[in-house]
Amino acid sequence: MLSKNQARTFFFAGTIISFLVFLGLTWHTLAREVPEQTNAKNITESVIRGKKIFDSNNCMGCHTIFGEGAYYAPELTKAYQRKGEAYIKTVLTVKTPWAPRGRKMVAYGMSEQDAADVIAFLKWAGEVDLNGFPPEPDLQSKVPAPSSSQ
């Protein structure tokens, strides 16, 4: 039967080995893979300013980006590609709350420059290789179109 000493060894050895493997993978991921996968060379001053504006207004408190955040407002990873620059600029600069179908967003009334920076950040985010996320809807073609006669 397992003794307390053996149990202690199992705990310490298991923890230390797991942590060392994790550190090694972290180094490999961040030093070797992430710069290319995320197009780090495209992180311009404007993208960084955009991220700061995104953070300081807690956009993640309603939206998700890379699938992370709250689930009250749309996923923003591909927002630039999906909606285009003009639409996003209107949402960010408008002085009255944006409320599609009644769901309200805070009216940020951003300056042209701030909106351009957030858009640059979203453009960069949309170009990151996310291993296939968000996936394309795979059942869309199987749903019959509503009959127009009704």
């Binding site: 397992l2 003794s3 307390k4 149990a7 202690r8 199992f10 705990f11 298991g14 923890t15 797991s18 942590f19 493997v21 994790f22 993978l25 490999h28 991921t29 961040l30 893979e33 992430v34 996968q37 995320t38 780090a40 992180i43 991220k51 953070d55 207004n57 807690n58 993640m60 408190g61 309603c62 998700t64 890379f66 699938g67 992370e68 955040g69 709250a70 689930y71 009250y72 407002a73 749309p74 996923e75 709350p97 599609p100 179908r101 009644g102 769901r103 309200k104 805070v106 950040f121 985010a125 990151v128 290789d129 291993n131 296939g132 996320f133 968000p134 996936p135 809807p137 869309q140 749903v143």
Partner: protein
């Protein structure tokens, strides 16, 4: 209660239960917004409500852990806490930082990083606060007559939790890097070192409540926390599937996440077996309910509901949907919420000398809150699965899918009402205990 300084735990437990009430209030605000009644939008927009809801959770659980440590460490080390005034200073600074942070969230003063919304200047105060806490706990342990495994595991958990807060304070220009290290804090806390704290508190409660030999309980404690780290550290990989990190994390995260329920299963079997071996003579049955309850609900919520969506093939579709909220609610409640309520239920009669556990209300508090939580999690699951199919699989517009899901939030509010009644009964009982007294001290 053997040492007078253990009474300082009462302050932390009181803060815990007050913040729990506030957390529930903000939960209701969010649920109503999802139903279409975002009436407080101008004062408390959704992002303020969610930041408050999540951070109150973190602070009430941490305050509960700190109270638990102040209660457990003197008893395990057989030594009074080295300084009660410093512990009270640590308490008040924690409470003030918490209040300032929550007020700040309502004035657009925060960082948009889920669970770590507290702005950077306040982070430094949190670090100072935790350093003071660790100094008090570790010095008491060091000066004590004994350094038991239970006390060591609990202290190690608290120390690592403090260290892991630091990577979350580094600024990164890249959202990918930011997210990568945010999970060092959030994941390695809740699926790593917090489980160490949980194991320590659970072991203490089982030793006291079941009367089983300490050596047996502590041996299994090592096995369980070992399993926790072996699965949990590399299990961080399930947060690295879709954030701009390499594909090998899909394999590593998938394999080690699948092992994560083992640690929780171990915890549940451990608690049940110790209970069955035990003498069943301890009069405080409610504390035992919460203790066994936390072991079982954490296995279901954190273990099973976690693995239900961490396989990469599933997570591709569920990532960033209400399926995550389903897992999150039962995991936090089962593993950490109930654990804090367990140590409160155990220690309050001993600190105050009042045996409120004999009251029917204490029993109803346990059952209503847990049945309510199961209902809430079912509503989240229904909302999550609906969202996955409508928005992700069929490609319906986000808002249209949300409107189709709104009905599940009515069910959520119904179940949450039951949960709230249970929690309210617990808190009413808590305040009926009153303040700790000198008379409750056991004669030396």
């Amino acid at each position: 209660m053997k040492y007078k300084s253990q009474q300082v735990a009462w302050w932390f437990f009181t803060l815990s239960v007050i913040l729990l009430v506030l957390q529930i209030v903000y939960g209701f605000i969010m649920a109503f917004a999802h139903m279409g009644f975002d009436v407080l939008h101008d004062i408390i927009p959704f992002n303020a409500a969610t930041a408050t809801h999540k951070n109150l959770l973190v602070v009430w659980i941490l305050s509960g852990f700190m109270g638990a440590a102040y209660y457990i460490i003197p008893e395990e080390a057989e030594h009074e806490l080295i300084s009660v005034p410093l512990a009270k200073l640590q308490f008040w600074s924690l409470a003030i930082v918490g209040v300032v942070a929550v007020a700040g969230f309502h004035m657009n003063w925060w960082e948009g990083r889920k669970f770590l919304e507290i702005p950077r200047p306040l982070d430094y105060l949190v670090v100072l606060n935790v350093l003071l806490f660790l100094y008090l706990i570790l010095m008491t342990l060091f000066k004590g007559k004994k350094q038991t495994t239970t006390a060591l595991v609990l202290s190690m958990g608290l120390l690592f939790a403090a260290l892991l807060y630091l990577p979350g304070m580094i600024w990164f220009d890249s959202q990918t890097m930011d997210s990568f290290f945010r999970w060092w804090v959030v994941h390695l806390w809740v699926e790593g070192v917090w489980e160490l704290i949980m194991g320590g508190i659970l072991a203490f409660l089982l030793i006291k409540l079941t009367g089983v030999d300490r050596e047996v309980i502590e041996k299994w404690l090592y096995v369980i926390v070992g399993l926790t780290f072996i699965s949990g550290i590399l299990g961080t990989g399930h947060h690295y599937y879709y954030i701009g990190t390499p594909r090998y994390w899909l394999l590593i995260g998938g394999i080690f996440s699948a092992m994560e329920p083992l640690a929780f299963l171990g915890m549940a079997l451990f608690a049940i077996n110790m209970y069955r071996k035990g003498e069943k003579r301890h009069p405080n049955k409610i504390a035992l309910y919460w203790t066994l309850g936390t072991a079982i609900m954490s296995f279901v919520g954190a273990g099973l509901l976690g693995v239900a969506h961490t396989l990469p093939q599933v997570n591709l579709w569920t990532h960033g949907t209400f399926v995550t909220a389903m897992h999150g609610h039962m995991a936090f409640w089962g593993a950490y919420g109930m654990l804090v309520l367990a140590i409160i239920s155990y220690s309050m009669p001993l600190m105050t000398g009042r045996k409120m556990y004999t009251k029917e209300g204490a029993n109803y508090a346990f059952w209503l809150s847990n049945i309510g939580m199961v209902g809430m999690v079912t509503a989240f699951a229904a909302a999550g699965v609906t969202q996955v199919y409508l928005e992700r699989k069929v490609g319906m517009d986000f808002i249209e899918a949300q409107q189709a899901m709104a009905i599940h939030f009515y069910v959520l509010v119904g179940a949450a009402t039951l949960f709230t009644i249970g929690v309210t009964m617990f808190i009413v009982n808590y305040f009926k205990y009153g303040r700790p007294t000198e008379e409750a001290l056991e004669p030396a």
